[in-house]
Symmetry: D2
Subunit: 378 residues, 4 copies
Amino acid sequence: MIGGGVGAFIGNVHRMAARLDGEIELVCGVFSSDPEKSKRSGIALGLDPERVYGSYVEMIERERALPEGQRMQFVSIVTPNHVHYAPARMALEQGFHVVCDKPLAFNLEEARHLVQLVEQTGLLFALTHNYTGYPMVKQARAMVRSGALGTIRKVVVEYLQGWLSVPLEQTGQKQASWRTDPNRSGMAGAMGDIGTHAENLAEYITGLRIEELCADLSTFVEGRLLDDDGSVLLRFENGVKGILHASQICAGEENDLNIRVYGTKGGLQWRQQYPNSLVVKWLDKPMEVLRAGGSSLAPEAIAHTRLPAGHPEGYIEAFANIYRNFARCLRARLVGEEPEPLFTDYPTVHDGLRGMLFIDRVVASSRSGATWVRMMEE
Amino acid sequence: MIGGGVGAFIGNVHRMAARLDGEIELVCGVFSSDPEKSKRSGIALGLDPERVYGSYVEMIERERALPEGQRMQFVSIVTPNHVHYAPARMALEQGFHVVCDKPLAFNLEEARHLVQLVEQTGLLFALTHNYTGYPMVKQARAMVRSGALGTIRKVVVEYLQGWLSVPLEQTGQKQASWRTDPNRSGMAGAMGDIGTHAENLAEYITGLRIEELCADLSTFVEGRLLDDDGSVLLRFENGVKGILHASQICAGEENDLNIRVYGTKGGLQWRQQYPNSLVVKWLDKPMEVLRAGGSSLAPEAIAHTRLPAGHPEGYIEAFANIYRNFARCLRARLVGEEPEPLFTDYPTVHDGLRGMLFIDRVVASSRSGATWVRMMEE
Amino acid sequence: MIGGGVGAFIGNVHRMAARLDGEIELVCGVFSSDPEKSKRSGIALGLDPERVYGSYVEMIERERALPEGQRMQFVSIVTPNHVHYAPARMALEQGFHVVCDKPLAFNLEEARHLVQLVEQTGLLFALTHNYTGYPMVKQARAMVRSGALGTIRKVVVEYLQGWLSVPLEQTGQKQASWRTDPNRSGMAGAMGDIGTHAENLAEYITGLRIEELCADLSTFVEGRLLDDDGSVLLRFENGVKGILHASQICAGEENDLNIRVYGTKGGLQWRQQYPNSLVVKWLDKPMEVLRAGGSSLAPEAIAHTRLPAGHPEGYIEAFANIYRNFARCLRARLVGEEPEPLFTDYPTVHDGLRGMLFIDRVVASSRSGATWVRMMEE
Amino acid sequence: MIGGGVGAFIGNVHRMAARLDGEIELVCGVFSSDPEKSKRSGIALGLDPERVYGSYVEMIERERALPEGQRMQFVSIVTPNHVHYAPARMALEQGFHVVCDKPLAFNLEEARHLVQLVEQTGLLFALTHNYTGYPMVKQARAMVRSGALGTIRKVVVEYLQGWLSVPLEQTGQKQASWRTDPNRSGMAGAMGDIGTHAENLAEYITGLRIEELCADLSTFVEGRLLDDDGSVLLRFENGVKGILHASQICAGEENDLNIRVYGTKGGLQWRQQYPNSLVVKWLDKPMEVLRAGGSSLAPEAIAHTRLPAGHPEGYIEAFANIYRNFARCLRARLVGEEPEPLFTDYPTVHDGLRGMLFIDRVVASSRSGATWVRMMEE
């Protein structure tokens, strides 16, 4: 693991997610750019001090030098955005599979290069767009793909937070500081941090790509250098229309990621705050509430649930589904077998590229006065 | 009453709303353009057959000729959009106060002329943007105006229906037919029918005017001549940003009018389907759910509630609040007194003009490729 | 109307409910035991002062003396419980149909006598167990009766309020005073006031009669003379088990009347606070939420809805359904026709007798230490 | 670990819960009464085959024989009820700390003996009444204890399932089979399996003990030998009244454990299906919804949350809170320190005894015709 020292939010999430199913073991890491701190964190995590490193370069080199079977089998990168590319690149170049936090990179160029590297090396690369790990998100996707909702017409996706309603970065709060810093976060703030999750969720569930967008980004908190709110009109393939908005200044909102998808026969709604329910409204029959663990679900929803209906699963379990699927694909690869088809689904470097393209284009649109721009790789 | 014969939806709503409090009596009407049908409807409603007329011209002339004290005191116009202007104009010119269904008129020019007439005659004119009659909408407005939420930053307002997901107008269904007909509905479909309610609600609660908008309207159902879905980015006064979307093709949605308003201190959410609750989320204290009839509400919310908390009130009661306030203002006017301040609030011809301007500008924006246009009267 | 002067809660509810559909007109009344107050209330309601009376005896005698066609057609009794019997009895004896607020009477003996009188005279008698007027309650009943839920096994019904958590009656608050006074309310407090609604709702929806019960009543507020809380185990016909509890000391609850009914195939839940939804959970398929005005409902649910789905109806509309059905049955009677079958359903004097029996037996059970007693008329 | 082979539900839950925080490692186990199966399960779990045993006797003896520091530090018992006592007893007698699934034992006598053994040995003993691990349950308890709700008056607790609506045990379904078998489950069915959770939750949150109860148990499914539904009137200390009901035949219900507690100043409601919210209703101010991870919570609620508000945690995390607290207390014990006070809270053998007493008394009450019995150890 690279990053995620004591006090980091997402590092601990990655560790809990990786641990949950007992299929992954943390064997080494560099937990801070300060070697002292890294050491302390690693020891607190129960690692062999020999394998707690002072830099990612050191870690990759030293692990590379271990005999196969003793070295780490993949790297998890959980650092701020500006420290995704270099370790990911080195890991790939040194033959390590990678799990990386989102967004994929600091800018579009880095992202394109990582895609190339993954394609060249053939290594596995998972990007933790963790919300796609929820079973009812998988159910939503299965229903859209099966045509149960008819032809899709409209998508509304939101990710609303309120925690940056005040200039928290000016208080030294760590999470706020790097997320609002163009040198560490990249060219977008809220749009990069959470807008990309919304974009990914919409494309994941519908299987449709955004073709054009028109974005109006705002910075409400004085002195802030990046957007803390943005509203985007979307045009998907096949004439599907959409709205995406993400905000970190919706005072009182927690992590309100939600999506609605409407087709000719019905619509569905999923909301992270009630992740085990999928509301399905029909044009000509009563509304249904599908429940994780319940009857009549798609195989991919069932495969990603650990408990009977009514025993709620949450964010960690969804995150663990990304890790478990990655681990199972990796294990199959190592033993030269095909992975079990139901457990091959995790976000990849290609999803990451879409996210970076999204960031690039919403900023471009907004800077040009909220005009329409295309969001397609040529 | 003009319009609202047997089988009409909104005519009966107006009558129930007017009746509820026992302060208004239906004394005459023309209920259809077919004099025979009009007569039958009027008699079924228990009217004196002498005062069931064959045309609005006849009604206004004949009532005008009655001695004061015997003639009708105001006119309710509940016809499709293309028959708002002419009867409203004649009523005003003949000295009758008017209640009119929304949108105000068929086009912007008619709307401007009605505003002039109301200003010239000094007569009362209520437009039934009925959702502003809900007590918790009034509570929301009071909270925004008092500064309880801090400085407003963002507004999200939606009005989603699904009933026009199929070409219902091709089956002869009456409500669908005129709403999708440019000759009766005007230049907009969903945006005129329900988008204007959303626009009115946002301006009513926030007290802020939309300055600019960028609208992407769609017609999803083949053969339909007007928009059945639209997404609009909004820029209000004072740098407030917003999103408005309205749709009649969100399959499975009923009448999901809802609004969220975020300020620097907190945010509120109101949803027609749970009209007696107002969810208030705070930046730094627990979320509250204010309830109609409950404690701690603003005087204007209390004044527009008829029952103790937990006995739900609904659409008809909210609609009746528009009528009751109009009736009380009219009664005060007739006896030369000031109306009681808590009961003077109803939407007027000026709200109607904003609505027509909104229709005009969203269509203009969308036709020009979803570009930004201003929404201000010079 | 008897009772319901200015400031009374339920009197005004009865008037709004009766007015809503324009099928009933208030023509006379006695609104207070104080003739002066009665006069003032009647005039404020716009009545002919000649027909505002000083006592119910005077009203019934004077109206009786008017020529048929000019006299009132039925009496509404909206007084406290101890003044139900005498005016109801006199009205029946003088040939007037009756609408009476619940509970039917002050004690079981009065109730039995009113049943006799109704049977002897053949007059119509409606008891305003108003919650049975909700369309989704009718839907629930239709589903149980059709066997959709399979064989019924268990019923849980609750009516929880919090307003009597403090000794409000000691402050002179009118509604609290008579409800907690054994001389005006009868032998039960909360159980009579709201427990009977719960009992009625359970028997109405299931069509099953309670056979035995075991009640533990409590008086939590010091100095109060009647129960303010009670929990009751129920045994219905056919081995169905149940729980009923009603309370006026559940601090923070408003008017939380709700019921759950479970059968071998599924269960349903209805809650007054979201009256337009009926949640149906199935043993082997996804949960459904049926909505008033929506598709697939039973004819009796549709017939008691006035608006399209998503435009919420509430307490007044449900109450109005009782009045409208009563009025339609009465009108059919007056013209010698059969009433339209869908509009004949309203609670009767027999429901009232069940309610009085319920009060009698829960008090008897509780007084004997919460032991089992039978609840059947021999 | 004893029990919990492949396919067992609760064994895997224990393992995920123990793993989540990386503070506990599974080192040995006996996973089936069939040594072959046990071996296969252990190996699949990645254990050293040497430490996968054929019986709990073998495991305890062999581990006992290992040098300190190499042997297991505690035992987790996750077998059906009739196999709790013997291994727990042996483990305690051999000096091992114990985590045991609930209910504590097969009958009251066994339970009393285990209490004695724990008291004699001074060993740690945790019983997985896992629902008390939810942060908002801890918040509820903190609020009751602080007096925020005033003096408690009423408690309503429910645990409703529907999965045993049909005779699943006759199909050979494993979970159903032992739970409905008096020889493996004990004297109660639903009441033992889930009623004890409800009882524990009520006593945990309120800090009040049930003094008397009156239970009406039912067996709805033909041929079943134990109760599948039960309703219980409760009388707690201090005159507090309550209702508890538990059912496995509420068709369509999943795991609907919920509790409401009412005091003189307000009431609270917690429901497992939305475990991160605690609804608090106040007598004289608006209802609040407290959220896990949100502001203004009690220290013990904060200490048992791993994620920011809005990232839902669930059943596994709550279960893990029991394990983590047990592990921290054990670790403190091993190093001779006081455990951190915020992390000492887990259900003990004494809670287990209360549960067994509850089972004993509800069955006694019901068998005597649903009469009142006391629920106190002398």
